[in-house]
């Protein structure tokens, strides 16, 4: 009998559990390396050569190069790790959220100033399915 992953029906959400931690291990280890300045410099000088040091999958590597923030999470990345890659690019947490939601930075900031995203209609996957939201 498997574990009950009751959190899988929350829409627009990746709960970073041990399975995702396993899938994303090398990707996340790459991301955290960027918190040190000499590593940021080496990555900036030659992204490809720096990425060669990490045993991530071809898909993960491409998502890093493309800065595909949602795909990084889909492939086992965790936000606290991917935010190190964002910080390297001069993108802060709020800007990153603006990009991941697809709203854009300004609209997202305005939503937060107006009190944030309401839980109404955002608790269960079927609520998003009914709205046609992906």
């Amino acid at each position: 009998m498997g574990l009950n992953k009751d959190y899988e029906d929350i829409p627009g959400t990746f709960v970073f559990d041990a399975d995702r931690g396993r899938e994303g291990y090398h990707l996340n280890q790459f991301c955290i390396s960027l918190r040190k300045a000499p590593n940021r410099e080496a990555f900036g000088a030659d992204e490809g050569a720096y990425l060669d040091k990490y045993k991530m999958t071809a898909e993960q590597r491409q998502a890093v190069i493309d800065r595909d923030w949602n795909q990084l999470l889909e492939l086992g990345g965790n936000i606290y790790y991917t935010s190190k890659l964002a910080a390297n690019d001069g993108i802060n947490f709020q800007e990153l959220a603006g990009l991941m939601t697809g709203m854009g930075i300004e609209a997202y900031r305005a939503m937060m100033l107006a009190g944030g995203r309401s839980p109404e209609g955002n608790r269960y996957q079927h609520e998003w399915d009914e709205k046609g939201e992906k």
């Binding site: 959190y7 709960v15 041990a18 965790n78 959220a97 697809g102 937060m112 009190g115």
Partner: protein
């Protein structure tokens, strides 16, 4: 004898630290965030704490994915602010009460809380932001007015420890402190939260009603509050809202009978609902009079 007299619940949003470090706390965006901590700073000063026992989480800064301890107790002599990717915060190094930390480590393990012992550790915004909001601006050449024992809780890789486990850990910390001979006033901080989701398409979730009931029940109904299942935090308070389990450690370390001294709630700071509460043990209040 050492004693725990009060508890502080407090968000630890990194942008709050950035706002203080760059001197923009009086801007209209930040002013309402910091206003709610003015009374807290006065209270903190009057409290004359010798030691803060500070429960927080590392945000994949010091702990990478190689090793993920559920509970890790800081036993090193001091803890320097870490570089989180934009340079270390310009705040003082945190000094430990090392003898008390060792005593707590010893006591917790015999009390069946199998914690990890950290003899070297840097600390990220999870620890330094609560220090800054409660003690005010301090530069790297200043000193924090008290010693700090950090307790890191894994809330990044699911599952975090249950609220029940955290509450009972608080009780065990209380027993440990009570059995330490030196005369010390200890204040416990539980940090993180409140509702927020930093990731993926639902980022930006805020649930004021949920946060409010959490703050209300923390004083009057802590045991049943600590039974809240993880799915409720994730669904109702956002995927990163599960950080609030750390507040139960603080509450567990206090008496059953506490009085709410101060509360502050504001949306937003960056992606997050800022929540803050100060609780005092009622019997320690009488002792003061």
């Amino acid at each position: 004898m050492a004693r725990i007299t009060a508890g502080v619940g407090c968000s630890h949003v990194p942008a709050i630290g950035v706002a203080m470090d760059s001197g923009i706390t009086e801007q209209p965006y930040w002013e309402p965030v910091f206003e709610g901590f003015e009374k807290s700073r006065e209270w903190m000063k009057a409290q004359k704490a010798d030691v803060v026992f500070l429960v927080y989480n590392d945000h994949c800064t010091v702990f990478d994915a190689t090793c993920i301890p559920t509970f890790a107790l800081g036993c090193a002599p001091e803890f320097a602010p870490a570089d989180e990717g934009w340079g270390p915060r310009p705040v003082p190094v945190v000094k430990n009460h090392q003898k008390l930390a060792s005593h707590i480590a010893h006591s917790l393990i015999l009390d069946e809380f199998d914690i990890t012992i950290m003899n070297e550790m840097e600390v990220d915004h999870g620890l330094t932001v609560p220090m800054s909001v409660m003690f005010g601006d301090k530069g790297i050449d200043d000193e924090w007015p008290c010693l700090v024992i950090p307790l890191c809780v894994n809330v990044v890789q699911y599952p975090a420890p249950t609220g029940n486990r955290c509450y009972n850990l608080g009780k065990a910390v209380r027993r440990a402190v009570d059995s330490f001979d030196e005369d010390l006033n200890v204040v416990v901080f539980g940090t993180g939260g409140m509702s927020h989701q930093l990731q993926y398409k639902r980022a930006g979730l805020i649930n004021k009603e949920w946060d409010t009931q959490f703050l209300n029940r923390l004083t009057s109904d802590p045991v049943s509050l600590s039974q809240t299942p993880h799915i409720d935090y994730l669904r109702e308070a956002g995927s990163e809202g599960v950080e609030m389990v750390m507040w139960h450690v603080m509450r567990g370390a206090l008496d059953d009978d506490v009085e709410e001294i101060h509360r502050h709630y504001h949306v937003p700071a960056s992606n997050t609902a800022v929540g803050h509460i100060i609780l005092e043990n009622k019997k320690d209040q009488k002792a003061k009079i």
